[in-house]
Symmetry: C2
Subunit: 222 residues, 2 copies
C-alpha cells in the first residue's frame, strides 16, 4: 500500500469523528429498545438474550450489537428510554409536588392494571438489581432515592413542615414499598386488587404521618 501523503494540505476538513447515522436509524434503534424492554421485562436481563431481542425486529443479534455495542449498554439505553417515555405524557416535565403527587401515584397504580408488561419489566428488573454487580443496580438505586426525596418533600409541603423530615422519609419509603410490593402480588395473582389496595395503603400511611405531626397542642416554632 502506498503511504505517501499529498505534501501540503493534509486534512482540509477538520472532521474529528463525526458519526452521521442514516435516515431511519433513530426509529430503528427505538424499535430495538422497545423489543429489548419487552424481552428484559418478560424474561429478565440475564435470561433475555440478544438473539431474542433481534428476532423481534427481524435482524440478527450481531445487528443489535452493531447499534449498541454491548448487551449492558443496551440495557442502560432501555432504562433511559423508559425514563423519557414516562415523563413524556406528564403535563409539565417533572412529577408534580404536594397533594398532586399522591393523586398522581394513585392514578399511576390505576393505569398500571392495563400495562402489565411495563409493570412486569419493572418488577423483574428491580428484583434482579439487588444481585452483585448488576448493571441496573445504580439506576434502580438512584430512582428510589429520587422518588423518596420527592415524596418526602410533598409530605413536608402538605404538612406545612409540622412533620419531622425524618418521618416524612420513613413514610415515603413505605409508600414506594407498598406500590412495588403490591405490583408483584398482583402479577402473580390477579385477584389482588392493585389500585384499591394501593390507594388504601397510601392514604393510611399519609394520614398516620400527618396525625403524628399534628402535635398534641400548639408547637409552632419550638
Amino acid at each position: 500500500m502506498d503511504d505517501d501523503v499529498p505534501p501540503g494540505d493534509a486534512s482540509p476538513t477538520p472532521r474529528p469523528k463525526a458519526r452521521r447515522p442514516r435516515k431511519g436509524t433513530a426509529e430503528r434503534r427505538a424499535e430495538i429498545l422497545r423489543a429489548a424492554a419487552n424481552t428484559f421485562g418478560s424474561k429478565g436481563y440475564k435470561n433475555g438474550s440478544l438473539t431474542d431481542v433481534a428476532e423481534q425486529v427481524g435482524i440478527t443479534h450481531a445487528g443489535v450489537l452493531h447499534h449498541f455495542g454491548t448487551k449492558e449498554q443496551l440495557l442502560i439505553e432501555v432504562l433511559e428510554y423508559r425514563d423519557k417515555e414516562d415523563v413524556r405524557d406528564l403535563e409539565g416535565q417533572h412529577i408534580p409536588g404536594g397533594q398532586e403527587l399522591f393523586a398522581h401515584l394513585v392514578r399511576t397504580a390505576r393505569m398500571n392494571v392495563d400495562r402489565r408488561g411495563i409493570v412486569q419489566g419493572y418488577s423483574v428488573l428491580t428484583g434482579e438489581s439487588v444481585t452483585e454487580n448488576h448493571p441496573a443496580r445504580a439506576w434502580v438505586t438512584e430512582r428510589f432515592e429520587v422518588l423518596r426525596g420527592e415524596i418526602a418533600d410533598a409530605i413536608d409541603d402538605i404538612s406545612g413542615g409540622r412533620v419531622p423530615h425524618q418521618d416524612a422519609v420513613l413514610a415515603a419509603s413505605a409508600i414506594i414499598g407498598v406500590m412495588d410490593g403490591l405490583q408483584v402480588q398482583w402479577l402473580l395473582d390477579e385477584t389482588v386488587d392493585l389500585p384499591e389496595s394501593t390507594t388504601f395503603a397510601i392514604e393510611a400511611i399519609l394520614s398516620a404521618t400527618l396525625v403524628k405531626g399534628h402535635a398534641p397542642r400548639t408547637e409552632t416554632t419550638q
Copy 2:
C-alpha cells in the same frame, strides 16, 4: 476380574427398589441445600450455577445432580427447606394469630436486618418468579396467598368481625407489600430504615383498617 457368581444364595433380600442412603447423606443434602440457598440468594436462580453450589460443599456439579436430579428440583427442595427452617424456631408450629401475628411481623422485620443473605434471596427469587414459567412461581404465589389469608384472619380476629373481610384482605395485601417493597429498597440502600419504616407502615395500615370498621354508629348485623 473373574465374573463367576457364587452359585446358591443370590440376593436373599428381595428389595426391588429400596434406596438406602448412607450415614452422612442427610446432612450432606442439607449442606447442599444451604449452599444452594446461598447461591440462589446472591445470584438468583437463573444466574446461579450448579458448579457454584457444588464448590461450596467441595464436590463437583455432577455430585449435586446425583442428589437432586435437576437444578429445578434443587430449587424446589431449597424452598421447602427454607419453609421448615422458618417455622422451626417458632413457638408452636404455625405463625401466630391475632395481635400476636403483627408483633411477629415486626419482629421479623427487625431480625431481617441481620440476615441480609436471606432477605436478598427472598427478594431476588420473588422478583424472578413473575417471569414466564419460572419454577418458583407456584411456590411464591401460594406463599403470598397463605400469608394474605393469615393476616386477613388476624384482622378479622382483632376487629371482632367489624371490618369487612374484603377490607381485611386489602389491608393484608398492603402489609405484605410494604414489607417486601421496603426490603428491596433497604438492600439497595442501607440508609433506608427497614424496621422503623415497616413498623410504622404496618401500624398505619392496621389502624386505618380498624377505624374504617369502627362504624359511624351501631351497625351490628345489618
